[in-house]
């Protein structure tokens, strides 16, 4: 049975249609990359899966149920957390909040210690789990955040830009960890990203969201000149390097950096507007999706 199915889904925020006619399925143990320009509705998709935003049209099932908040079978890692920069809280305590953070009242669950210990071991974070979050490197924090989101061994793990703001070495480290978490738990993983290349070794399917459309398929099925040109309504060229990296030409204006701040609905709506504007106009920042230089 699929972990997630969407049939003719559409997202609407504040009266604005973000995307529609989305039909896809996510199978257990697979890794899905969600790509597309800023504001295309990638985070909105995660919010819909989490039950934070209702699906405007169509039907969707997450683990056989209508999406709802607080589903312990769905793990979620936000792109930014308030704690990272300033908190003196330790990684272990932060992972512990993944276990009993939502609980009101007195009392203490005796299994917490062991569950947290296992989550730390599984993510290779035990050695620095007792240091304050603000003293850790970006990669270490992401590992702790992954431990936080996988404390209940979710069947569906949603990661919002887990590679953003990491250097290349840390990106490789996190990609390896995502793969090993998938292998050890059998969870389906959905990774929102702005660059396919760091993930290309582990990705089973791609969801590309652009111009209100959602395309789903294997990397070769979606990330090719025909589909992307159709999706963007403009000629797109793809150069594949000898090492298998894809350089996408023609989208320099569309594919921008990840959001520097946490994105919520209003931001998403705003950016959706922005990207429509920039589509027809010259824009001063030009980025490659795929070149390595932007990460160094």
């Amino acid at each position: 049975m699929s972990v997630l199915t969407m049939t003719n889904g559409a997202a609407v925020l504040g009266g604005r249609r973000i995307w529609g006619e989305a039909t896809f399925a996510i199978e257990p143990g697979t890794i899905t990359a969600v790509l597309g320009p800023n504001g295309a509705g990638k985070s909105t998709l995660l919010n819909i899966i989490l039950g934070l935003v209702p699906l405007a049209e169509g039907t969707m099932h997450v683990l056989g149920e209508v999406p709802h908040r607080g589903n312990l079978h769905v793990g979620y890692m936000a792109q930014t957390r308030q704690a990272d920069a300033v908190s003196t809280m330790t990684g272990r305590d932060f992972v512990g909040l993944g276990f009993d953070g939502p609980r009101f009242g007195w009392g203490h669950d005796r299994t917490k210690k062991e569950v947290v210990r296992q989550a730390l071991a599984l993510t290779g974070t035990t050695s620095f789990a007792d240091q304050p979050l603000h003293s850790l490197s970006g990669g270490q924090r992401q590992r702790i955040a992954l431990a936080h989101s996988t404390v209940f061994s979710p069947e569906l793990l949603l990661l919002d830009e887990p590679l953003a703001a990491l250097d290349l070495a840390a990106q490789v480290e996190i990609v390896d960890l995502i793969r090993s978490l998938r292998d050890s738990t059998g969870a389906a993983v959905v990774v929102v990203a702005h660059d396919l290349n760091p993930l290309s070794g582990i990705v089973d399917q791609v969801l590309w969201i652009a111009r209100q459309h959602v395309r789903c398929g294997s990397v070769d099925e979606v990330v090719n000149e025909k589909v992307l040109s159709e999706l963007y309504g403009q000629p797109i060229e793809i150069i594949v390097t000898p090492r298998g990296r894809r350089v996408i030409v023609g989208l320099e204006e569309e594919l921008a950096h990840p959001h520097p701040h946490g994105h919520d609905h209003s931001h998403d709506g705003q950016h959706a507007h922005d990207s429509e504007v920039t589509h027809d106009h010259e824009h001063d920042h030009t980025h490659h999706v795929t070149t390595n230089e932007e990460h160094s």
Partner: protein, 276 residues
């Protein structure tokens, strides 16, 4: 009179119960103020309270009711309007300024006893009645009870709002709850140290605790302990040596923060030497 007789007098006893309850509430709420980086909001609520207290005095009521109404109002306004970090400072700043202006107006309209203004600004815990002690203690214990029931969600929402929301918590609801707790704590702390020195109980002990430990529960209890010691010894020195109790509490709480920072600096230098 000897210190013993002074400490046994009813007005010191009243003050003792009041500072004990208030210090515990302020210590633990202060931990969240520091964690959430909302010191400016705490500051603003206190100043808004000044307008409320001045208004109540003008109407011939007890200042604490004016404080409660204005502080809760300001807390809810900040909680509602400043849900996102981006616009929080602006909302807080405008609320603060508007209320202070109102306070100035009330004071100018009130031609009576200036001491009322003085005790709102700088605190006046000696001389409070049993009735006032009862109200302050009840409010403080209420805050402690609510925090003990909600500290995990409050922590969660303070360090990772989006993840907390995905787990079914309401960031807005919890933010409002926290601002209400902060408002009530500010009101009771003002009874002891006044509007201008409210940070001494609300921020200094928690900031010292956060320097000393990175475990949230440990920091909460440590903040309560430091606030309690500052309050008890502040009261004792005020009675024994003289001078305003609020001065002593502020001095001791600030000193504990300073000592915590110095100790942390010494410790980190020592551990660097070990590594080298």
């Amino acid at each position: 009179m000897s210190v013993h007789t002074l400490l046994a007098t009813p007005f010191v006893q009243h003050a003792f119960y009041a500072v004990t309850a208030v210090a515990l509430a302020a210590g633990v709420v202060g931990y969240f103020v520091v964690l959430r980086r909302q010191a400016f909001a705490a500051h603003a609520i206190g100043h808004v309270g000044f307008a409320g207290a001045a208004g109540a005095v003008l109407l011939g009521a007890s200042p604490i009711y004016g404080l409660l109404v204005f502080c809760l109002g300001a807390g809810l306004l900040i909680g509602l309007g400043g849900a996102t970090l981006d616009d929080r400072d602006a909302v807080v700043g405008v609320t603060l300024t508007a209320a202070l202006g109102l306070g100035v107006l009330f004071i100018s309209l009130y031609s009576g006893y200036a001491n009322a203004t003085y005790s709102i600004l700088f605190g006046q815990i000696l001389g409070v009645t049993w009735g006032a002690v009862g109200l302050v203690a009840a409010l403080s214990l209420g805050v402690l009870l609510v925090v003990s029931l909600t500290y995990r969600p409050l922590l969660f929402i303070s360090v990772d709002e989006r993840s907390a929301a995905s787990r079914g918590l309401s960031p807005r609801g919890l933010s409002l709850l926290f601002m209400a707790l902060l408002a009530i704590t500010t009101v009771v702390a003002i009874q002891i140290v006044g509007v201008l020195l409210v940070f001494s109980l609300l921020v200094a002990p928690a900031a010292a605790a956060e320097v000393m430990t990175s475990r949230p529960l440990g920091a909460m209890f440590l903040a309560m302990f430091i606030a309690l010691m500052s309050a008890w010894f502040g009261l004792f020195f005020g009675v024994w040596i003289g001078g305003p109790v609020s001065f002593w509490i502020t001095a001791l709480a600030s000193l504990s923060y300073l000592l915590a920072r110095v100790a942390a600096a010494v410790q980190s230098r020592r551990s660097m030497r070990v590594v080298a």
